[in-house]
C-alpha cells in the first residue's frame, strides 16, 4: 500500500464522517455569515456618519474579525479526524473502536498519522480557498462605495488567515492524539480561538506569550484587531506557529508509534 492509497483511504473515511461535514460547514458558512453581519454593521455606521459605533470601518476588517469562527471549524476538523477513531461504537453494535480496523488495514502507524494530517490540511486549505475570497468579495460588495480606501497587505493577510486555520487544525489533530478523546481539545482550543483568548491574558504577564502558537499565528492576519501590543511580525509569527505545529505533530507521531492501539 502506498502513501497515496493511505491518503485516499483517509480522505474517504474522514470526509464521510457527519462530524466532518458539519465542521466544514462551520468553516465555510460561519465566516461568511459573520462577515455579512459585520459588513452590514459597518455600512450602517458609515452611512450614518457615526463611525465610532463600530470597532473598525474597513470591509477588510469585517472579514478578518470573522476568522475566529472559521478557526472553530478547523479545530473541530482536526479533532474529529482523530477522535472518530477512538470513539467506541455503541455497545449495541459491539463496542469496537475504528482504530483497531485502521491499524490492521494500515499497520504503518506514521503513515496513518501522516495521511490524516494531509487529509485535514487538504480539507482546510480547500475551505479557506473558497471562504476567504468569497467573504472579501461579500464585504466589499456590501460596504461598497462608502468604504475607506483599502489598507495594504490584504492578500498577505488573507493567505495568513488560511495558513492560520491550517496550522490550527493540525495542532488540534496532534493534541487529540495525546488525549484520544475530543472533549478536552475542543474546550481548550475553542476557548482559545477567540480574539480574547487565555493567551492574550498571559501576554499581560510576560512578553514571552507572543511566542504561543495562537498569538504568534494571529499576527499573520489580525493586524490591528489583535488586542495586544508587541505582536510578532507576520512572517516571524507564521514561522513560530509552524514550528509549534511541526513539534506537536512529531511528538504525536512518537506517542502514536509507541502506544498500544
Amino acid at each position: 500500500m502506498t502513501f497515496f492509497d493511505a491518503v485516499a483511504a483517509e480522505i474517504r473515511k474522514t470526509a464521510t464522517l457527519p462530524a466532518t461535514m458539519v465542521a466544514l460547514a462551520v468553516t465555510v458558512l460561519g465566516p461568511v455569515a459573520i462577515t455579512l453581519i459585520n459588513a452590514i454593521g459597518v455600512r450602517a455606521a458609515l452611512r450614518s456618519g457615526r463611525s465610532e459605533l463600530t470597532a473598525y470601518t474597513s470591509p477588510v476588517d469585517a472579514v478578518f474579525s470573522a476568522v475566529p469562527i472559521g478557526t472553530v471549524g478547523a479545530v473541530v476538523l482536526g479533532v474529529v479526524a482523530v477522535s472518530g477513531e477512538y470513539t467506541a461504537n455503541s455497545a449495541r453494535i459491539g463496542g469496537g473502536r475504528q482504530i483497531t480496523t485502521t491499524l490492521t488495514a494500515i499497520p504503518n502507524r506514521l503513515g496513518v498519522l501522516a495521511a490524516k494530517a494531509v487529509t485535514v490540511a487538504l480539507l482546510v486549505a480547500v475551505a479557506a480557498l473558497v471562504v476567504i475570497p468569497a467573504s472579501l468579495a461579500l464585504a466589499s460588495g456590501i460596504v461598497g462605495a462608502d468604504a475607506p480606501p483599502a489598507p495594504e497587505g490584504v492578500l498577505s493577510r488573507a493567505v495568513g488567515a488560511g495558513i492560520y486555520w491550517l496550522l490550527t487544525a493540525l495542532i488540534a489533530l496532534a493534541v487529540t492524539v495525546f488525549t484520544r478523546n475530543g472533549i478536552v481539545p475542543i474546550i481548550v482550543l475553542v476557548v482559545n480561538s477567540s480574539l480574547v483568548s487565555v493567551s492574550v491574558l498571559l501576554s499581560h504577564l510576560t512578553p514571552l506569550a507572543r511566542f504561543l502558537p495562537d498569538l504568534a499565528g494571529m499576527s499573520m492576519f489580525a493586524g490591528d484587531l489583535l488586542a495586544f501590543d508587541d505582536a510578532l511580525a507576520p512572517v516571524t509569527g507564521g514561522l513560530v506557529m509552524a514550528t509549534w505545529t511541526a513539534g506537536l505533530l512529531a511528538l504525536a507521531g512518537a506517542v502514536f508509534l509507541r502506544r498500544d492501539a
Binding site: 467506541a88 455503541s90 455497545a91 449495541r92 459491539g94 463496542g95
Partner: protein, 239 residues
C-alpha cells in the same frame, strides 16, 4: 400477586415502512415466554414499545393494566435489560446501579446484593468501559434484578455470555418463573430458547407467525429449528 405483560395489535412505522404489524401476544406469570425471530424481525422494537422507550403508531402494550410510562417505581415492577450495559463507560458499575436504585427508592444495599448475584462482586469499582461484552451483559442483568421485580423483560440476554453464564441465567430465569414471576425474553438463538422457554412467540417481518406453548408451536416439526425456518422463511405464511 400475578403480573401479565400484554401486547395488543401493535403497529409501528419508521418512515413509510411498517416494521410491526398487528403484533399481539401475552407473557403470563409463572412462565418463561420466548420471543423468537431472525435479525430485524421486530423483537427489539416490540420490547422497546412495551418498556415505554418508543411509541406505537397503533395498539397497546401494557404491564398489568397500565402502560409502562405510568408506572410509579417501574424498576420494582418490571426489571429490564436491553442490548449493551446501558451505563456510560466512564462510570463504575456500582455508581451506575446506585443512581438507578436512588431513582426508584430502592434500598442501596441491593446494589451490592445484585453485583454478587451476577458474579460482579469484585468488579463494582471498575469503570464500565473496561468491561468485556459478557461483563456488560451481567451488569445489565444486575440492573434488571435491582428492584426485585415481578416481571423480567430481557432483550437477547445470553448474548456474549460464556457457557457457564448461559447455564446460570437459565437457572435464574427458571427459578424466577417457578416462584410465580413473569419472564419475557427475546432471542435469535433457538437452542437457548428451546431449553428455557415454556411459551413461544415467533415473529418474522414484523408479524407474529406463531404463538403458544412450545410443544404446540413445534408440533409437526422434528426440531424447533425446523419449525423456525418453516415459520419465518421466505415462503412462510401466517398460521
Amino acid at each position: 400477586m400475578v403480573l401479565m405483560l400484554s401486547v395488543e395489535r401493535l403497529v409501528k412505522r419508521r418512515g413509510s415502512r411498517e416494521i410491526l404489524t398487528d403484533v399481539t401476544f401475552r407473557a403470563a406469570p409463572g412462565r418463561v415466554t420466548g420471543l423468537l425471530g431472525p435479525n430485524g424481525a421486530g423483537k427489539s422494537s416490540t420490547l422497546r414499545i412495551l418498556l415505554g422507550l418508543d411509541r406505537a403508531d397503533a395498539g397497546t402494550a401494557l404491564v398489568d393494566d397500565q402502560p409502562y410510562r405510568r408506572l410509579r417505581q417501574p424498576l420494582r415492577t418490571v426489571g429490564s435489560m436491553l442490548e449493551g450495559s446501558g451505563a456510560h463507560r466512564s462510570r463504575t458499575a456500582r455508581n451506575h446501579l446506585t443512581w438507578m436504585a436512588r431513582s426508584n427508592g430502592i434500598p442501596i444495599r441491593r446494589v451490592a446484593e445484585v453485583l454478587d448475584q451476577v458474579g460482579l462482586g469484585a468488579a463494582g469499582g471498575t469503570r464500565v468501559g473496561r468491561f468485556s461484552l459478557g461483563m456488560c451483559q451481567r451488569l445489565g442483568l444486575a440492573a434488571a434484578l435491582l428492584g426485585e421485580p415481578r416481571a423480567l423483560v430481557l432483550d437477547e440476554p445470553v448474548n456474549g455470555l460464556d457457557p457457564e453464564g448461559i447455564r446460570w441465567i437459565r437457572v435464574l430465569l427458571r427459578g424466577h418463573a417457578d416462584a410465580g414471576g413473569t419472564v419475557l425474553l427475546s432471542s435469535h438463538l433457538m437452542r437457548e430458547v428451546d431449553e428455557i422457554a415454556d411459551d413461544l412467540v415467533v415473529i418474522a417481518h414484523g408479524r407474529v407467525v406463531a404463538a403458544g406453548p412450545i410443544r404446540e408451536v413445534t408440533a409437526g416439526y422434528p426440531t424447533l429449528e425446523d419449525a423456525f425456518f418453516a415459520l419465518t422463511g421466505p415462503t412462510a405464511g401466517g398460521r
